[in-house]
């Protein structure tokens, strides 16, 4: 999408993600994008969210995008400490939301973070399915985001189903439990309301064409006759994001190679100071 001087791509995407939240649910902050989307949503769009500092740390805190300090935020802000058991109970009772950033997502919303190639003879062994099977078999809303929409990330069929998508297998075994609901990419917003629960365009970001999307996807995405343009962030949205992420941890997710490494080191060196500036009580704890 073409850049707009009022906001960067990351701010556009985070705002779009924030606007998906609703209700009184726990929100886990596992990536910088997820943390900022939760924080912005809580401030502007879904005031009842119960936001966590890390996948597991204290509830009712203001997450700060960080490389290594998630748990320390709970300490600084007090917060309500949780256990893994409580996180999973919130998942099973559908009181939990999370933005997941898969390596691959396919036509039916199946997602993969485990392996490229055959699981038994991996081309690239990634990390393992973590808690995505639990999320996708229990939550009524599952949010995915992909920062580089391409034929490598948005694929006809994932190499391995870490997360359950739509289709007969889900219908037979999970029934009403869970289903992928939204995918936000750098090109648009998608859902799974196409024929047979397949991916469909909900809106495209300003300046993005359907042709570009189809060209960058591993399959033909269902599109309605008239496609809305994704609403851009407001000035207030952008300001909230910038204030909440002075170290610009969010930028790391969009970078790679030496530029990312350099930025990474600089953020890591500065994050303690930023934390102490945001939560002065913390410095006194030691």
């Amino acid at each position: 999408m073409p850049l707009d001087e009022r906001y960067a791509l990351d701010e556009f995407l985070i705002t779009t993600m924030a606007r998906q939240f609703s209700g009184e649910v726990m929100v886990s902050s596992v990536t910088a994008f997820g943390a900022l989307a939760a924080l912005l949503a809580k401030a502007r769009y879904a005031p009842d969210l119960a936001v966590l500092a890390t996948p597991e740390s204290g509830m009712e805190v203001t997450p700060m995008p960080t490389l290594s300090l998630g748990q320390f935020l709970t300490d600084a802000q007090r917060g309500i400490p949780l256990t893994m058991e409580e996180i999973f109970d919130a998942i099973f009772t559908d009181h939990f939301r999370i933005w997941i950033n898969p390596a691959q997502i396919d036509r039916h919303g199946n997602t993969n973070i485990s392996v490229i190639g055959d699981w038994h003879q991996p081309k690239v062994a990634m990390v393992g399915s973590r808690g995505i099977p639990e999320d996708t078999s229990h939550l009524s809303q599952i949010f995915y985001y992909v920062l580089t929409h391409s034929r490598r990330t948005v694929v006809e069929q994932v190499d391995f189903r870490s997360g359950a998508g739509t289709g007969p297998d889900r219908d037979a075994t999970l029934g009403a439990h869970g289903a992928p609901s939204v995918l936000v990419t750098d090109l648009g917003v998608f859902d799974f309301t196409g024929p047979g629960g397949t991916m469909a365009v909900r809106s495209l970001h300003p300046g993005v064409t359907l042709e570009e999307v189809q060209e960058k996807s591993g399959f033909e995405i269902h599109a309605p006759g008239s496609i809305p343009v994704t609403d851009p962030p407001t000035e207030e949205d952008v300001q909230i994001i910038r204030d909440a992420d002075p170290l610009e941890v969010r930028k790391l997710e969009l970078l790679s190679g030496p530029e990312a490494a350099e930025r990474f080191v600089s953020i890591y060196e500065r994050e303690r100071q930023a934390l102490h500036a945001a939560w002065p009580r913390l410095g006194k704890l030691g």
Binding site: Q71, M84, W119, A125, V127, R130, G131, S137, S162, A164
Partner: protein, 283 residues
């Protein structure tokens, strides 16, 4: 206890559950002691693994890994884990976060399995042959039976402990309580041993109960290079160094000589000493 006494209690072929989560509160000093011993063919159980699993694979101590995740989070993939997976060098079994917890909990509750929907409509069920699909005895609903995971040994690292084996965890608890309860023998390292009276001030942060522990070792910075909230954050610079040294065998031997084949106090010296660690990692 000492680290050596702990390691002496862990024979080759043991099933070892490890607490912590990726870069948080891994019992790394105990892991390094295990890695430099002659122990082989360990069967590891981790929920969310990181440098713990990767290091033990790197030193050839492992024959099987049961895991929901092994990675270095913001730093990327786990190099030895990835290589071993791609070369099919060891046996791997992919579980999921809750099913590892349920497998440990089944052992605690002394039942052969616990039921869940997790894993249905995913490929985890296809590659993990330990799970079994079955129908619930009431309505015939299709479920996954998660078999009991039975660790011989659990290794965990906590903030404080008393000499009797009660442990205080101040940051995230991860799956440490489950590991401690499920294992036949649990060894706990801690930043500091405190008196039982002082320990009781921590109320519900006393998460590890002595009836479930076998031995305690005082090992300050015992989670390094992972973090131990609220005492110190993960040492991402050291972990970057680890990753660099995992690129080839020579570099890895250098890392191992420097940081694994040494005792805990020399390990800290080689990090620049406690003062330098404090300056870099204390929050």
């Amino acid at each position: 206890m000492t680290v050596d006494q702990v390691v002496a209690d862990i024979p080759s072929g043991s099933t070892v559950a490890i607490g912590g989560s990726s870069l948080s509160r891994k019992p790394m000093a105990l892991i390094r002691a295990l890695a430099r011993s002659s122990v082989k063919d360990l069967r590891l159980i981790v929920d969310v693994g990181g440098p713990d699993v990767d290091l033990l694979i790197g030193t050839g101590s492992v024959s099987e890994v049961i895991y929901a995740f092994v990675g270095f989070e913001v730093l990327g993939l786990a190099p030895h884990f990835r290589r071993a997976r791609q070369q099919q060098a060891l046996r791997f079994e992919e579980w999921t976060e809750y099913t590892v917890m349920a497998g440990l909990d089944a052992t605690i509750k002394r039942v052969p399995f616990l039921p869940t929907h997790a894993g249905l409509a995913t490929d985890v069920l296809s590659v993990n042959t330990s799970f079994r699909r079955f129908q619930d005895p009431f309505h015939g609903e299709e479920l996954v039976a998660v078999p009991a995971l039975k660790p011989d040994v659990a290794l965990i690292h906590v903030n404080y402990a008393d000499a009797k084996g009660n442990g205080v965890i101040l940051g995230d608890g991860h799956v440490d309580v489950l590991c401690a309860k499920a294992a036949r023998r649990t060894y706990m390292s801690c930043e500091r041993i405190i008196s039982s009276d002082e320990l009781q001030r921590y109320g519900r942060d006393v998460q590890i109960l002595r009836v479930h522990t076998t031995g305690v070792v005082e090992l300050p910075w015992g989670a390094h290079p992972t973090g131990c909230a609220p005492d110190y954050r993960a040492d991402l610079r050291h972990l970057q160094d680890y990753l660099k040294h995992s690129a080839n065998e020579d570099a890895w031997r250098e890392y191992a000589d420097q940081y694994i084949y040494t005792d805990p106090s020399r390990y800290l010296e080689r990090q620049g000493g406690v003062e330098a660690l404090l300056a870099r990692l204390k929050v």
